[in-house]
Amino acid sequence: MKINRKSPTAAQKKNRPQVWQIILIAFFIFYMFLPILSTYIFSIATRWDRTIFPEGFTFEFYKEATDASYFTTSLRNSLILSLSTILVSLIIIIPTVYWVNVRLPKAKSILDILMILPFGIPTVVLALALVQVYNGTPIGRSPVLLIGAVFIYSMPFMYRPISNALHSIDALTLTEAGQSLGASTLQVMLKVIIPNIYPGIISGSLLVFATVFAEFTLTKLILGARFKTFPLLLVEYTRINGNIAAAFSVISFTIAWLASLLILWIGKKGQGSSTQAPHAH
């Protein structure tokens, strides 16, 4: 009798969907899933303005999109921009984060903030200020200026996963272990630290890739038509042909999805091979 009073059972409680789950799922459907789905459909719909469902399907827009004169150039430009930024970012961020973690742990909270700062600066403001300051100098309105700006802007995405990865491996003790075995700091970094924060490096690189590949404002304001990237082409086509723009969007999405899936896969792999807690029960 007493039991019935205290029911519903804990097991039932745990399986009852929670209100906030429903809210979250609704948000995802309304603000992400529906728009994305419609973009996919729009990119293959022959006509979709008179009926609820498209009147027919075609791959014509993809053909037109990939045939577009700037398609290859813009894809190449976007890749150059993304990959250069990743390279610059890795060279600067990894040693800095390692050095702060191992030698100056007290400065970690300052670095944490420094790496949040870029979010506080409107890209519009950053772009306009950069253009104004470097106008007339050799790097003014050059890809170098853009890469620098994009690096600053994407820095937090590289910093966070690398910092987390370093934090989770006890970099200081591993460094000391390496040193006691005769390795120099550089050898420790190359042979011990970097291989063990590999998942963080890949995640960071993919995040930077995703954000830089999709970057619009800085590119537009700093270089404009002189260095047309994929997002610039996409926005241009929204004014020319909505269906082709949708096809571009789908291509852009697909690249982002692939990057995300890679992050997911690497994250899981990283989890599996992480050191076990000594006191696991």
């Binding site: 591993l174 000391e176 390496g178 040193q179 005769g182 590999y198």
Partner: protein
């Protein structure tokens, strides 16, 4: 001639004196433990020997060479960490080979040495596994093998067993001692566990608040503690506070304890008499006067420890603990009146001021 010498070593963090005027000679091939509670400076001293910290003052000499400011990777000193610190990305074999590779040892030699140390820690079949596939105890044995593979001049162990379960801890400390003896490698072992220090060491250095309290063999430390801290931190000791009453007598409240001759003390001086629980006999009837000091009390607690049973006996506003062995334990029950007796020779008398 000492092999490893620390001379007047000081180290301050902020305004905390972590290590205060530490001077110690360690002979070649010996295992020396640094023992003390958390924050006593034992780990800091070890890290200065390893080169991870620099002394503010003083020098560290190894084999007649001043290594005070030499980089850790050029000291030829092996280290085993509490958290194992195996490289997660490398197999057991690669972990052990790491130090040899850094020294540019020929490949054939590396293979030979790795097999040798794996044999030594009895984990030959784990060579191809990765650290996360091993238990904590196995990981620590591999960490030991890795440190030994480069044949360091000194081996440092920083609380190597603290993260392990009780059974593994006891087994592994036997292994460490066996390997250390076989190789006759000069070793410094840091621990907060007095049982570990007693059972494994040639010499124990007891520290408190950055200062050495006593240096001696485990037997010396246990049987002839020089300060009250050492007496109570290592093993258990009953403490009777009182004043020197005569040539070989201490007057405690309502109790007179016969001791050895108190030549170092003046009459009336405040002292404490320390008696180990295993040196107290428990009698169920009043013993004859030649049993030494006799105290009557009531059994308040009976705690079974396996080989021994510990009695808590209430006497005269004080609680005294005494250990009895298996055979006599059966006959004693709670709230029973017992007579505790101990010889004057087992009493250790110390001035209270220190």
């Amino acid at each position: 001639m000492a092999y490893l010498e620390l001379k007047n070593v000081h180290k301050t963090f902020g305004n905390v004196k972590a290590v205060n005027d530490f001077t110690l000679d360690i002979n070649k091939g010996k295992l020396v433990s640094f023992l003390g509670p958390s924050g006593c400076g034992k780990t800091t001293t070890l890290r200065m020997i390893a080169g991870f910290e620099q002394p503010d003052e003083g020098t560290i000499q190894l084999d007649n060479e001043d290594i005070t400011i030499v980089s850790p990777n050029q000291r030829d000193i092996g280290m085993v960490f509490q958290a194992y610190a195996l490289f997660p990305n490398m197999s057991v074999r690669q972990n052990i080979a790491f130090g040899l590779k850094m020294k540019k040892t020929p490949k054939v030699e590396i293979e030979k040495r790795v097999d040798e140390v794996l044999e030594m820690v009895r984990l030959k079949d784990t060579a191809k596994r990765y650290p996360h596939q091993l238990s904590g105890g196995q990981q620590q044995r591999i960490a030991l093998a890795r440190a030994l593979a480069v044949r360091p001049r000194v081996l440092l162990l920083d609380e190597p067993l603290s993260a392990l379960d009780a059974e593994v801890r006891v087994a592994l400390r036997g292994e460490i001692r066996r390997i250390q003896s076989d190789l006759a490698i000069t070793t410094v072992y840091v621990t907060h566990d007095q049982e570990e220090a007693l059972s494994i060491s040639d010499q124990v250095v007891v520290m408190e608040n950055g200062v050495i309290q006593q240096v001696g063999t485990p037997q010396e430390i246990y049987r002839a503690p020089q300060t009250r801290f050492v007496a109570t931190f290592i093993g258990t000791a009953n403490q009777f506070f009182g004043k020197v009453g005569g040539e070989s007598e201490v007057q405690c409240s309502g109790l007179s304890i016969s001791t050895r001759k108190l030549s170092d003390f003046t009459k009336g001086q405040e002292v404490v008499v320390l008696v180990r629980p295993e040196l107290i006999s428990v009698n169920t009837s009043q013993p004859s006067a030649d049993a030494g000091n006799i105290i009557e009390g009531i059994v308040e607690t009976v705690t079974f420890h396996g080989a021994v049973t510990r009695l808590g006996v209430h006497m005269n506003q004080q609680r005294v603990v005494a250990d009895i062995t298996v055979n006599s334990a059966e006959s004693i029950s709670l709230n029973q009146t017992v007579w505790l007796s101990f010889k004057p020779e087992v009493c250790k008398v110390m001035a209270v001021a220190e």
